[in-house]
């Protein structure tokens, strides 16, 4: 009997099998990598804003406190965006003619707020409250990164559920004393494990099994 297939057919057949299996595995790996990438989540990408506001200049170089603009961070669920009047407390005196600030003056003249592009977004089914996090020793930079270093502002976290759970399962790793909450350059000290445990008691923080209840965030 003659061969139905040439000797090379086996190599081709096995190559095709390998490519099919490899591509399927590679497609899954690419999808997994892509779903967490900056390309999809938008982290580390500075969005276009009406005014190229620099946190590095205002918070870093001038040393303006976070709460000067984000006034409700200690008392309400949202930290708050400043009204145009807040900008104008200084910019009615300095850089009054700057073309870069034209949208701000325009906003004041028309009595219309500036339309900033939102960077940190949570889904509607997540209940998040800034005030309780500040009150219980979680600092700004733990979620928002080194904002005082950002020439143009970007988000550093995509706020996946995994990110929230990491801290709710082990809050001692990130918890700070009251006076270091607004320290944007804070890094955990060498003895954080020990201090963290003391702070948990100090703030009366509930055990992780309760902090990871579904209803803590999904109400």
């Amino acid at each position: 009997m003659e061969q139905l297939f040439k000797p090379g057919a086996d190599a081709i057949f096995r190559l095709v099998l390998f490519i099919v299996i490899f591509s399927a595995a590679a497609a899954l790996a690419v999808a997994a990598a892509l779903s967490g990438s900056a390309f999809v989540t938008g982290t580390t990408i500075a969005a276009r804003q009406p005014v190229p506001f620099s946190h590095k200049h205002h918070a870093g170089e001038l040393g303006i406190d976070c709460r000067y603009c984000h006034t409700t961070v200690e008392t309400e669920a949202t930290a708050g965006l400043p009204p145009t009047y807040t900008c104008m407390t200084c910019h009615s005196q300095i850089w009054t003619g700057s073309p870069m600030l034209a949208p701000v003056r325009d906003s004041l003249a028309r009595n219309q707020p500036l339309h900033w592009t939102r960077l940190n977004r949570l889904p509607d089914y997540v209940y998040f409250d800034h005030a309780i996090h500040i009150a219980k020793g979680i600092g700004c930079s733990s979620c928002h990164g080194q904002v005082q270093e950002m020439q143009l502002t970007y988000a550093v976290q995509s706020f996946t559920m995994g990110f929230c759970l990491d801290c709710h399962r082990a809050p001692q790793n990130n918890i700070r004393p009251q006076d270091e909450i607004f320290d944007m350059a804070w890094t955990p000290p060498a003895d954080q494990a020990e201090r963290g445990r003391a702070l948990l008691a100090h703030y009366h923080i509930r055990p992780p099994a309760e902090l990871t209840d579904c209803s803590i965030c999904h109400r």
Partner: protein, 670 residues
């Protein structure tokens, strides 16, 4: 084909010749098939369906109708995804309606069909040859048709994969205690095991079709070489070598065993989804048994109906005889009695338990707004099978087909009755709300039927619809007059792969192997159309390590799933779900069992291919003159040239000097 001194034989022209009982393995032509049916006839008859396609006009009409239903399903699914499952008319309290009815029914049919084929194999029932391929195909395709439901009945079907445990940004695990998770694992495992069982069982038959197609082309009898090559790729280079068969036989039986286990896991899981609630009519330890009984009944009903249709369409009366129909009818009768028993027990228990809600649920089944379902169960499934007490009716094909279909319909109504009657009215009168079958839901089910038939028609069109191999065990080898004088020796160009000899019976081949080994020859191989148990000892083959591999595969899956569920639930993410214990081990057993069958089936299928060095499309064995008949009715022995001290002339002499000499001897080039 047929280079070396054997005359080509015409299809069907071998019946009535003097038999060759002493030289063939197994019994004389079994009483299950037409007397005198030969190996060649079996292969030609089944190949004729795949190649010649009898009744192509009817096939096209049926296929077009099935495709139209699939098209309707596609459009319907777009609307469903856009609008949501509300279009099915499901609402509180009847949240599970036709979608779960359809799912449970399809999976019941699939499980019943798979269990039938697998159990008959394990019990050594030779009559399974008539139904096993069809039953396995029905199992696989019914599971495909049913598998669309768990996805499309989700609120957000594009997130169906959230039900599987995989690393994710939510750091969440699925709920391992939930029957909904078991279902996802069960259906994946079932599809894998059913696919492996079906395909591994079909490999030798695909090789038979490959060789018949190639013979047709070479004999100038039509057909294209492409067809032979496509079957060749599908057969993965199967050549029926002694070790192939040794491993295959064990692999096939192990897969059958895994099939039985996955069916038990799936049906128990589905039943516990009901029994685990406190709903009246569901909360019953009998539920897994009832589910299994209903599944087997529906599966055998569908298989019986389709076997009759296939037998009539393809004129397979020689291979599927009245005796087969008789057994299927008896099986339906027995399963009908089993289901009747389950139903009576359910009513009896509700009657003596004294629970008002339970009794009310049973009463609603008989006389409630959906009482039609109860009467359909009685009139379609439970009563008609009793006609089969009469022998003459058991052998009436049309009646078997009708009753098989009625049973399938009755079992569908059974799922409807159980689901809707309970949900519509549980404990609170205030939550009673009428439910009526919705056109969209009915159309979705019709679409799934279309999907099933479209796939089934493709399988009937292109694949061996009857297991050629299994039927060979019942048939006889056509007699070839023994040769006078020395067998012809064909030369071959160097370099040599070996010296091959063609035998007319398994006994002659086995004797040759023993004789050659006694002469100190090594590197022997043998090729045959069906497994011959005597070959392994004759060749001194070691036992195939298939059982060990299966155990390792099963253990891997069981430990992985059970350990994963334990790690996730006890350590990684502790949640309080209704005060259940963290280590809820009984609920981890079902997915662990199902997943173990999945990994076991994958391990066995891979081991079969890797150990046999398949796929191997091009092999020196195919250079043997007339080797195509190794998948029909000839047996070959090869002395390979790589053996130490190999001498082609000595090998030829040894072969020619055998007491039952070969039909021909050939030097085979590499």
């Amino acid at each position: 084909m047929g280079a070396a001194g054997r005359s080509p034989t015409a299809a069907g022209g071998l019946t009535g010749m003097p038999s060759d009982i002493a030289r063939r393995p197994g019994p004389v032509t079994s009483r299950y098939i037409a007397p005198g049916t030969s190996f060649e006839r079996v292969a030609q008859d089944v190949a004729a369906i795949a190649f010649g396609h009898p009744g192509w006009r009817r096939w096209w009409v049926s296929f077009a109708a099935a495709l139209a239903l699939v098209g309707m399903l596609a459009i319907l699914l777009l609307v469903l995804f856009w609008q949501g499952v509300g279009i099915w008319g499901n609402n509180i309290p009847v949240t599970w309606a036709l979608d779960i009815v359809g799912y449970d029914w399809w999976l019941g049919v699939a499980c019943g069909a798979l269990l039938t084929s697998a159990l008959l194999l394990l019990l050594g029932q030779e009559w399974r040859s008539a139904v096993n391929r069809l039953a396995e195909t029905v199992a696989l395709l019914a599971a495909c048709a049913g598998a669309i439901y768990p996805i499309i009945h989700l609120g957000r079907p594009w997130f169906f994969y959230w039900n599987l445990p995989y690393p994710n940004w939510l750091l969440l695990w699925p709920q391992f205690r939930s029957p909904l998770f078991w279902d996802a694992v069960d259906i994946l495992s079932f599809l894998t095991v059913a696919l492996a069982f079906w395909y591994v069982g079909m490999l030798p038959d695909l090789a038979t079709l490959r060789d018949r197609a190639a013979e047709q082309v070479r004999a100038g009898a039509g057909g294209s070489l492409l067809r032979a090559r496509l079957y060749g790729i599908a057969a993965l280079g199967w050549r029926g070598a002694a070790v192939h068969w040794q491993r295959w036989t064990r692999a096939y039986r192990i897969l059958a065993l895994l099939g039985v286990v996955v069916v038990l896991a799936l049906q128990s899981g589905a039943a516990v989804m009901f029994a685990g609630t406190v709903e009246p009519g569901w909360h019953d330890t009998m539920q897994p048994v009832t589910f299994l009984a209903a599944a087997l009944f529906a599966g055998v009903g569908v298989v019986a109906a389709l076997v009759v249709v296939m037998r009539a369409l393809f004129a397979l009366h020689a291979l599927i005889t009245a005796r087969h129909l008789d057994i299927l009818a008896r099986l339906l009768l027995a399963l009908g009695l089993f289901n009747l028993y389950c139903g009576i027990v359910e009513f009896f228990m509700a009657g003596i338990a004294g629970d008002h809600y339970e009794r009310a649920a049973m009463q609603r089944r008989v006389s409630g707004p959906h009482a039609w379902a109860f009467w359909v169960v009685i009139l379609c499934a439970l009563l008609p099978v009793h006609l089969f007490w009469i022998r003459r009716l058991r052998r009436a094909p049309a009646l078997l087909c009708v009753i098989g279909l009625l049973v399938a319909i009755g079992m569908w109504a059974d799922h409807f009755m159980v689901i809707v009657d309970t949900l519509q009215h549980d404990f609170l009168p205030s939550s009673d709300r009428p439910y009526a079958v919705d056109a969209w839901a009915a159309a979705t089910f019709a679409g799934s039927v279309g999907l099933f038939f479209a796939l089934l028609l493709l399988a009937l069109r292109y694949l061996p619809v009857i297991s050629i191999l299994e039927t060979r065990h019942l048939a006889r080898i056509a007699d070839v007059p023994s040769r006078r004088g020395p067998p012809p020796v064909a030369g071959g160009p160097a370099p040599l792969w070996g010296v091959a000899a063609e035998f007319r019976s398994a006994a002659a081949m086995t004797a040759a192997l023993v004789a050659l080994r006694a002469r100190g020859m090594r590197r022997l191989d043998a090729f045959m159309p069906l497994p011959v148990p005597e070959v392994a000892p004759a060749m001194g083959l070691r036992r195939a390590p298939m059982a060990g591999i299966a155990v390792a595969g099963v253990a891997f899956g069981a430990v992985l799933m059970f350990g994963g569920a334990t790690y996730a639930t006890v350590f990684d993410y502790v949640f309080d779900i209704g005060g259940r214990p963290r280590f809820s081990w009984p609920s981890f057993v079902i997915p662990a069992t199902a997943f173990a069958t999945l990994t076991g089936a994958v391990a066995i299928a891979l081991a079969l291919l890797v150990l046999n060095r398949l796929p191997r499309l091009n092999h020196p064995a195919f250079n043997i003159p007339g080797f195509g008949s190794a998948t029909q009715d000839r047996f070959f022995v090869v002395v390979e040239a790589r053996a130490e001290g190999f001498d082609a002339a000595a090998a030829e002499q040894a072969l020619a000097a055998l007491a039952d000499p070969p039909l021909s001897i050939a030097r085979v080039p590499r």
